[in-house]
């Protein structure tokens, strides 16, 4: 492994003011020679503060604790005078692209010239040739040297900024949001250029961005910053493929580039800025436990090259099925409905089980929900073995929503009775509490909750309404995993669309995990985080939705994708 060029140890940054605001919290990482490290996070997560701290450019109001090492030199102890020598010469920054970064009364030539003048001891001629050389390197034509910043396009300005940052041939280049506000072509050009420059000059890079595309293209490793805390760190490809922190996953599913088919869903809730105890992501996390509120999790290694700050050791696996086998025996033949099926559902994700009818999907779902006993194999829900109804008969367990809404609800029941039923059977709470919870659940599925509506018998409802009542009945027990078996296949397209969007929205808000079983590829592409493809009782392929759809491996998947996408 190459040696470290920049190391940060336990960095804290606090902005002093009427209320002290801690912008960075116990950040430690290492940047190696020639490597590119990405820092991602929502706006306000402390990315820019981090960049400025590394540059030593934070103003006096900020209190910095911790150490920044450049090779063998601790920068944070140095007086401002000596620090100056490292800034720009060793570590330089490409500021976030905007008009204000460049001096409006200087031409491009003068901007870069000034930069060289201040940081190097070149002669005039040397500096003159250097300016042209830099401009050529960043792909800017000579004719622009006399232009003023406002005359340039966004992409060109970005090039000028890069040229300025490279003027002193630094070892470490910090790039802050290099591609925001650029069009797709511009983005690509800038990214290609940065990669080329890095190859030519061999500098290390820290790329700060909230754009996953940029991170994926430019970086080898990535750190996820949230509210001043580093929540996850690891090799970029594996972090993108298999995020370990719920926040990282939330970021990924909000990125359009990674979700070409799927609906986008941002992370529910807002970032809290107040300094308080506990995990910074507590209020938005869907797998939080009591400890998360009390104590800030330590940033620790959970697997090879991967680090996560989470009390639960990253995204937990809620439901796990191993080697599930099920065979139906009729008089003259045996049907293998499930052959060695393996399936995992993690907290907060939507898993789609895709397969044609008769592939054994419903059998597998029934086994997962404990409705059917497998011939072989075990199912574990949060480490507890699924046996009969032990996980479905409790609050916060597994719940199933069935395909046929007309069979799923007893039509003799009133709506209130139907929704209350699980609580009634589980003997949860008093009568009033049950009613309150049932009404809450009906609110969640956006059905009316007037006394008149509550006492309607279910046979008066339409299919879509009944399906919602069925969902409300499942939600009333606050399930951690919802098994949805073709729940929209018997509904008309419009109702189906409404129900799907609404269910996904509900999931985003409540944070339960969902196994959605369908034969409909288009639906799967719309909602899946991960996909399992089932064919003749076997799970033939599994993977990330965007990975699997863009690059199917199994022949059956390829065929299915070919069939499924409509050719007009």
């Amino acid at each position: 492994m190459s040696q470290s060029i920049l190391e940060i140890k336990n960095l804290y940054v606090t902005y002093k003011g009427e209320e002290n605001f801690r912008a960075l919290n116990n950040i430690s990482f290492i940047l190696r020679q020639g490597e590119t490290l990405g820092i991602v996070g929502e706006s306000g997560s402390g990315k820019t503060t981090l960049a400025l701290t590394l540059m030593g450019l934070l103003d006096k109001k900020a209190h910095i604790a911790g150490e920044v090492w450049y090779k063998d030199q601790c920068l944070s102890d140095l007086p401002e005078k000596e620090r100056e020598q490292y800034r720009w010469n060793k570590i330089s920054i490409v500021f976030q692209n905007s008009l204000e970064v460049l001096n409006p009364v200087l031409t491009i030539y003068e901007q870069i010239y000034e930069c060289l003048q201040r940081h190097t001891s070149f002669s005039r001629e040397q500096m003159d040739t250097k300016v042209y050389e830099l401009l050529q390197r960043v792909g800017l034509k000579r004719q622009w040297v006399k232009a003023y910043p406002h005359e340039l396009s966004g992409g060109m300005r970005q090039r000028v900024l890069i040229a300025m940052a490279l003027s002193c041939e630094p070892d470490v280049l910090i790039v802050d949001e290099p591609t925001t506000a650029l069009d797709a072509m511009g983005k690509r050009e800038i990214m290609d250029m940065l990669l080329n420059l890095q190859q030519e000059q061999g500098f290390s890079m820290i790329v700060i961005s909230h754009e996953m595309q940029v991170i994926a293209q430019l970086t080898q490793r990535v750190g996820v910053l949230y509210s001043g805390y580093l929540l996850e760190e690891g090799p970029t490809s594996s972090v993108l493929k298999e995020p370990m922190h719920t926040y990282t996953r939330g970021l990924l599913s909000s990125a359009p580039i990674l979700n070409p088919y799927r609906d986008l869903w941002g992370i529910a809730g807002e970032m809290h800025r107040e300094n308080r105890q506990g995990c910074p992501f507590y209020s938005r996390c869907n797998q939080s436990i009591a400890l998360c509120k009390e104590e800030t999790p330590r940033f620790k290694i959970i697997s090879a090259h991967r680090k996560v700050a989470c009390h639960r050791g990253g995204i937990v696996t809620l439901l796990k099925a191993k080697n599930v086998k099920k065979q139906y025996v009729t008089e003259n033949r045996k049907i293998q409905a499930c052959k060695n099926c393996r399936l995992e559902i993690k907290a907060g994700e939507t898993v789609v089980l895709l397969g044609q009818s008769g592939s054994g999907k419903t059998t597998l779902a029934s086994i997962l929900g404990g409705l059917l006993a497998p011939d072989e194999g075990d199912i574990y829900f949060q480490g507890e073995k699924v046996n009969g109804n032990n996980v479905t008969s409790k609050i916060g367990g597994v719940q199933m929503v069935f395909q046929d809404p007309f069979s799923a609800i007893n039509e003799h029941f009133t709506i209130l009775e139907a929704v209350e039923e699980p609580l009634h059977i589980m003997k949860e709470g008093t009568k009033e509490e049950r009613k309150r919870k049932a009404i809450q659940a009906l609110c969640d599925v956006s059905l009316p909750t007037t006394p008149g509506f509550l006492t309607i018998r279910c046979h008066q409802l339409s299919g879509g309404q009944r399906q919602r009542v069925a969902i409300a009945r499942s939600l009333v027990t606050h399930p951690k995993v919802l098994l949805a078996d073709e729940i929209s296949s018997m509904l008309d397209p419009s109702t189906q669309a409404n129900l799907l969007r609404f269910l996904k929205g509900l999931q985003n808000e409540k944070g339960f995990s969902m196994l959605y079983i369908t034969h409909d590829i288009a639906v799967a592409q719309k909602i899946a985080d991960r996909i399992y493809i089932m064919y003749q009782g076997e799970i033939v392929e599994e993977g990330n939705a965007w990975d699997l759809f863009s690059n199917p491996k199994h022949n059956y998947t390829k065929k299915l994708l070919g069939e499924g996408l409509a050719r007009w």
């Binding site: 409705l371 008969s393 799923a408 589980m426």
Partner: protein, 278 residues
């Protein structure tokens, strides 16, 4: 009360008449002590009197008032009818529900018992049992119920078998519902109309069966039922050579027939309404 009114509106004319008739017979049975002038065991006139103002439908060979006998007999007959229906209905439906719910070998075993009950020749066995247990109303009800629950059990079982496949039952089971909960909340409301119809049919069957047992001399000799009256009358030697049969045989016979027909009408009507509702 509201529901009864609704049903009443849905009844056709014959069924309304039948229901009124049944109510009349029931009230006759209930008010037997008030609407009869003479006792039903002790002679109150000379023997074999034709209908007159004192004895509305005449007297039997012992001079006992026939009207009193018919009224008190209605008590016994209806009690046996309804008692048998209730016992067989409840027992049969519980049997059916349990067999269907448990499924597997329990179901197989229980249904074989039903088959056995069906193939047993009923009347001879009833005679044997009736003779063996001794004739009193309780025993008669039990014996009659013993042979009439199978139909209900089979109907209920098949209905519950189909209900068991319904997802709402699976859901309730997955929430941890007990057998009793599922029976009470999910099975019973759906099965109830079927039990209802079955029980109404059983009522008339039981009344006829009691009459036939009594006719064969296996009824409770101490009780007055329509069957017993008929039995006595038919045992009167040469009854058809005299005019006595006109009141002595006709009155209990008409009572039995009219009640059975009325119940049949009502049963058919309720069945129709239930089917319509579905």
């Amino acid at each position: 009360m509201k529901k009864i009114k609704e049903y009443w509106k849905m009844f056709s004319m014959p069924a309304k008449i039948a229901a009124l008739w049944l109510i009349l017979i029931c009230s006759m049975a209930l008010l037997a002590g008030i609407i009869t002038r003479y006792p039903c065991y002790i002679p109150s006139g000379s023997s074999l009197e034709p209908p007159s103002f004192t004895h509305i439908i005449g007297t039997d060979d012992l001079g006992i008032d026939l009207w009193a006998q018919i009224c008190y007999g209605a008590r016994t007959s209806l009690m046996i009818g309804f008692g048998t229906a209730l016992l067989a209905g409840v027992g049969g439906s519980l049997f059916g529900i349990f067999a269907a719910y448990k499924g597997g070998w329990v179901d197989i075993l229980m249904m074989r018992i039903v088959d056995m009950m069906i193939i047993l020749p009923q009347l001879p066995l009833m005679i044997v049992l009736g003779a063996f247990l001794g004739p009193n109303i309780g025993n008669i009800v039990v014996v009659l119920a013993l042979f009439s629950w199978t139909g209900i059990a089979r109907i209920v079982r098949s209905k519950v078998l189909s209900l068991k496949q319904e997802k709402y039952v699976l859901a309730a089971q997955s929430y941890g519902a007990s057998f009793f909960y599922i029976v009470k909340k999910h099975f019973f409301p759906s099965v109830f109309p079927l039990i209802m119809v079955g029980m109404i049919r059983l009522t008339s069957r039981a009344i006829v069966a009691e009459a036939s047992l009594s006719f064969l001399g296996l009824g409770d000799p101490a009780s007055k039922s329509w069957g017993m009256i008929l039995h006595h009358a038919l045992n009167f030697k040469g009854i058809y050579f005299t005019p006595y049969w006109k009141w002595w045989i006709t009155s209990p016979l008409l009572a039995v027939l009219s009640v059975v027909i009325a119940i049949a009408f009502i049963g058919r009507e309720i069945e129709k309404i239930i089917n319509m509702k579905k």
